[in-house]
Symmetry: C2
Subunit: 137 residues, 2 copies
DNA sequence: GTTGACGTTTACGTTAACGTAAACTCCTGC
DNA sequence: GCAGGAGTTTACGTTAACGTAAACGTCAAC
């Protein structure tokens, strides 16, 4: 395995705002809005924003948060858990607490999803039964 | 097992709005709002709202939807899947499609949660390592 | 007979998360 | 040398999901 083969999976070194908007099917306005709210911090070439692969990952995390019903503030809090910019002990303790809370919330969501899945099964069964009955008449 | 023993688990036959508000830790205003939006339809004694056990279940479903990041419209759509008031074949087909969509969404949320859980584990590990390091100094 | 506690309607206010539009800059192609 | 396209800032508009407040009804308790 050569060094070249190891860096095989091609990946742009940077992205424009409209590239990201297209990829994730959101508007450029939304992306700028996330920056306003402190969730993104792209580099600038003159006035133009230039997004690094890391910025792109952060954007993915934001959108995942949205799918889970998190607010932007919550998503930022979660993203902040990743970088190790937490110097003192107290901050780290708070971070661990925060992680515990998120875990609890996610477990609740898991239970909610499982309940809902089961109920969707039943609803589907009823609908199919009702369909069968309607067709027989 | 007598008939009396079978109906053993005591359960109020009705609830006031403030009882429900207390139980679920929401305001009465929110409950009335859900009614405005067509998600609840409590009986009335004069002007006063009286909530049946079924109304209470619907409220629980609404709140579960909220925890999963659903809008009130989405929650209403889900709740509507339960009652078999769907007469004709076309409606039932649409219902089945709707159920499929919800299932897909829930599966996506499951994947999101699993990713996030894993990342929380890593974040916790890093935090604990960092803590250990800080204490050793 | 009035005072709370609880309920009601009506209406305006608020926050989050963008959408939409105007007016401008910069660069590229022809 | 200018038209078009992509980017920018600034600012006002919009929707969902309630909060908050005012003004009122009702009923048991003192």
């Amino acid at each position: 395995m050569t060094a070249k083969a190891a860096t095989n999976t091609e990946q742009p070194a940077s992205y424009s705002i409209s590239e990201l908007a297209r990829e994730f099917d959101i508007t450029t306005r939304a992306i700028r809005f996330y920056e306003d709210k402190g969730l993104l911090n792209p580099a600038r070439r003159g006035q133009t924003r230039i997004y690094s692969p890391e910025d792109r990952v952060r954007l993915k995390l934001i959108l995942r948060g949205k799918r889970l019903g998190f607010s932007l503030d919550e998503s930022r809090a979660i993203i902040d858990m990743y970088d190790p910019a937490h110097g003192n002990v107290e901050q780290l303790q708070r971070l661990l607490q925060h992680i515990e809370q998120k875990r609890a919330q996610l477990n609740q969501q898991l239970r909610d999803i499982q309940s809902l899945m089961g109920e969707l099964d039943e609803a589907e069964a009823r609908a199919r039964a009702s369909l069968k009955h309607n067709i027989e008449n």
